[in-house]
Symmetry: none
Subunit: 200 residues, 4 copies
DNA sequence: TGATAAGCGAGACGGTACGTCCGGTCTTGAG
DNA sequence: CTCAAGACCGGACGTACCGTCTCGCTTATCA
C-alpha cells in the first residue's frame, strides 16, 4: 500500500537557494532604500535572479517584504510565570525590540499601508504576529483576568492593540528611532497603574 | 519701524477655486479608490485642472492628501474643566471620531508610510495634529499632573501616543472600521485605572 | 560558415497590431490637426495604446510621422526606357503626386524643420526617398549623361534637388495645394530645355 | 484749430532699445540652439527684458524670428542691365548667400513649418522676400520674356520657386551647409539651358 | 527511456503614473 | 499704455517602474 504522503509535484522543483537569496536581498534593500523605493527588480538583481522567479513565489512586494522583515522565529520564552507586572514589562520590551529592528522600522509603515487595503495580506500578517509573542501574551492576560490577577473587565485584545499602537507611534515620532528602557518603564507604568492617582 | 502691512506678493495670484476643487477631489477620490491607487492626474481631472497646478501647491500626493483628510478645523471646545476622567474619555472619543471618518480611514495607512520616510512631511502632519485636540489635551494633562489630579510621573506625550496608536491599530484590525462606544469605554477604563487591580 | 538563420530575439515580441494602429492614427491625425499640434499622446489614444509603446518603436514624433506619411512602397515602374523627356515629365509628376497627398502636405513642413537639426533623421528620410522613385531616376539620369542623351556635365543630384525643391516651394506658396498638370508641364519644359543637348 | 496730424498714442511709449535687444538676442540664440529649442523666455532673458514685453511686440516666436533672421535690407543693386545669363547667375548666387547665412540656416526650416499653417505669417514672410531680390528678379524676368531675351512661355514664378527650392534642399542635404560657386554654376547652367532660346 | 510539466535566466513588452518644461497670460506697482 | 518682476494655467513631454510574457533551456517525475 502506498503512503498517503503528498508526492512531489510534477515539473522541476524550485531552487530553495533562490528563496533564501531573495529574502535576504529584500531585507537588506528595504533597510537601504526604504519600502516605497524598494523595487522587485532591484531585489531580483541583488539576489542574482530575475523578476519572474520572485513573482512565482510571492504575489507581490508586500508579501515578500513581510516575510523578509518578520521571519518565522521561535516564539521566545513563554512569559508564563512570575508576577503579571514583570510579564507586561517583558511584553512591552519585546514589542519594542521587534518593531525597532532596522528592517522592521523600514518595512512596517509601508506594510501597514498595504495591509489596510488587502484582506488576504492582512490575515497573513496577523497570523504571523499571533504566532509570536502576541499569542502567548493573549493567553497570559486571559488567565490573569480569570484568576483575578488583573482587574476584571480588561480586554486582552485592547491591551495588545494599545501596546503595539503606542510603540508604533512612538517610533514614528522619534526620527532616530530610539526607544530606551525609560520609555518602556513609562509605558508599562501607565498601563499597569493607570492615569489616575490611587484613591485613598 | 517696519510696516506691518503685507503687500501683495509679486506675480499672478493663485486661483483659490483650484485649491478648493483639488482638496475636494482628493478627499472624494481617496475614499473611492484608496490611497495607493490615488493618482495626482486623476485628482487633477476630477478637480477640472491640471497636474502642474497641483504640484505648484503641494510637493506631492502625501502633502495634498494630509491636508484634504485633516483640514484645519476649529480646535473644538477646550476640555478645560470637569473631572479628568471625563476629559480623557472625551479625548479618546474625539480621536476615534477623527480617525474613523471614511477619508481618514482611507488616507491614514498610506500617509503613515510616507511620513516614516519624509521628516518634512512628518513635521507637517504632527503640527496639524498638535494644532487640534492633541495640543489642548497635552496642556490639560500637564496641568493635571502639576495639580496632583493625575498620578505623578505620567508623561502626557506617552498617553497621547498611546491613545492614537491604540485607535490606529484597532481600526486596522477591524475591516468594517467600526469602533463603538463600548470600545471607547474599555480603552478609557484601562488608561484611567490601569491593568492591575487596586491594592488593598 | 556562419548560419544564416536568424533566431528570434530574446524577450517578448512586439505586438504588430500596435505598429499598424499607430501608423494609421498618426496618418489620420497629422491631416486633421497638422504637424505642430500633433502630440504623441493623442496618437497613442487614437491608436488604442500608450505613449511608451510608441517611444519603444520610434525615437520621436518626427521618425514616426515620416514613416506614416511616406510608407515603404513598391518602387513604381522603372522609367527605364522611352525618351528622356517622357521620363523627366513622369518624374516631376510623380514627385508632385507624392508631395501633394494630404498627409504629405500636412507632414512635410514640420518634418523638414526637424530634419534640419537631426542628422540621423536626415539620413532616415533621405534613405526613404532614395529607395523610391528618386533612386531609379538617379540611375536613369546617370545613364542618360553617359550615353549622350543628356547634356554633358549635368549633375543628377542637382536635378533631383531642383525638382523636389521646386515642388516643395510651389506647394507652400499655394494655400489650396493644387498643382495641376499645366504646372507640371511648365516645370518640365524649363528643366528639359537645359537638360537636352542642343540640336545641331 | 488743432493739426490733423496723428498725435502720439496715449500712455508710455515703447522703449526702442528693447526692440533692438530682442531682435539681436533672437538672432544669436537661434544660431546657438536652433529654432525648435529656442524659447521666448530665453530670448527675453538674453535681451534683458521679459516675456510680456516681447509678446506686446510680436504675436509669437515665428514672427519675431523671421524679422530677426531676415531684417529689412536695402534691395541690393537692381540686376537691370547686362546679359540675362549674368543676372540669373547673380540671382542664384544671391539666393544662396541669403539662405546660407548661419541665422537663415538655423531659422528657415522651422519658419517654413510655421508658415505652412499660418496664412498671416505666410503673407508676412512672402512680402519680406518679395521686397528684396526676388521682386526685382521677377520684373527682370518678365521683361526678358517680353523682349524675346528669354524663351517664350517661361513663367517667372516657376523659375523663382525653382531656384529657392533647389537652394533649400541643397542646404538640407549638406550637413556642413556649404554651397560653393561650383554648385552655383551647375544650377545656373541647368536653368539657363532651358531658359535661353535655342540659337539658330 | 521518453514524454510531460514546471522552473529558470534573459530580456523586452504593454501600460500607469510620474514630475517637469515651457508657451502664453495675468497681476501688481511704478512711470 | 508701458515697463519689470514674477507667478500662474494648462498642454505635452519623455521616463521609471510594475507585472506579464516569450523564448530556449534545464531539471525533475511519471509511464
Amino acid at each position: 500500500m502506498t503512503t498517503p504522503v503528498r508526492s512531489a509535484p510534477p515539473g522541476r522543483p524550485r531552487d530553495p537557494r533562490i528563496d533564501r537569496a531573495v529574502l535576504r536581498a529584500a531585507e537588506e534593500l528595504v533597510v537601504e532604500v526604504g519600502y516605497a523605493d524598494l523595487s522587485v527588480g532591484a531585489i531580483a538583481e541583488r539576489a542574482g535572479t530575475t523578476k519572474p522567479a520572485i513573482y512565482r513565489r510571492w504575489p507581490g512586494k508586500a508579501y515578500l517584504v513581510h516575510e523578509a522583515a518578520f521571519p518565522d522565529t521561535a516564539p521566545g520564552p513563554a512569559p508564563d510565570d512570575g508576577p503579571l507586572a514583570d510579564d507586561v514589562r517583558a511584553m512591552v520590551s519585546a514589542c519594542r525590540d521587534v518593531f525597532a529592528r532596522p528592517v522592521a522600522r523600514a518595512a512596517l509603515p509601508g506594510l501597514l499601508a498595504e495591509v489596510a487595503g488587502d484582506p488576504v495580506l492582512n490575515g497573513a500578517v496577523l497570523a504571523r504576529f499571533r504566532a509570536g509573542t502576541w499569542g502567548a501574551m493573549h493567553d497570559r492576560l486571559t488567565r490573569a483576568v480569570a484568576t483575578g490577577e488583573a482587574r476584571p473587565g480588561v480586554d486582552p485584545d485592547v491591551l495588545i492593540e494599545t501596546v503595539g499602537g503606542a510603540t508604533l507611534l512612538a517610533l514614528l515620532n522619534r526620527p532616530d528611532g530610539v526607544l530606551d528602557d525609560a520609555w518602556v518603564e513609562r509605558l508599562t507604568t501607565l498601563l499597569l497603574g493607570g492615569l489616575l492617582p490611587e484613591p485613598g
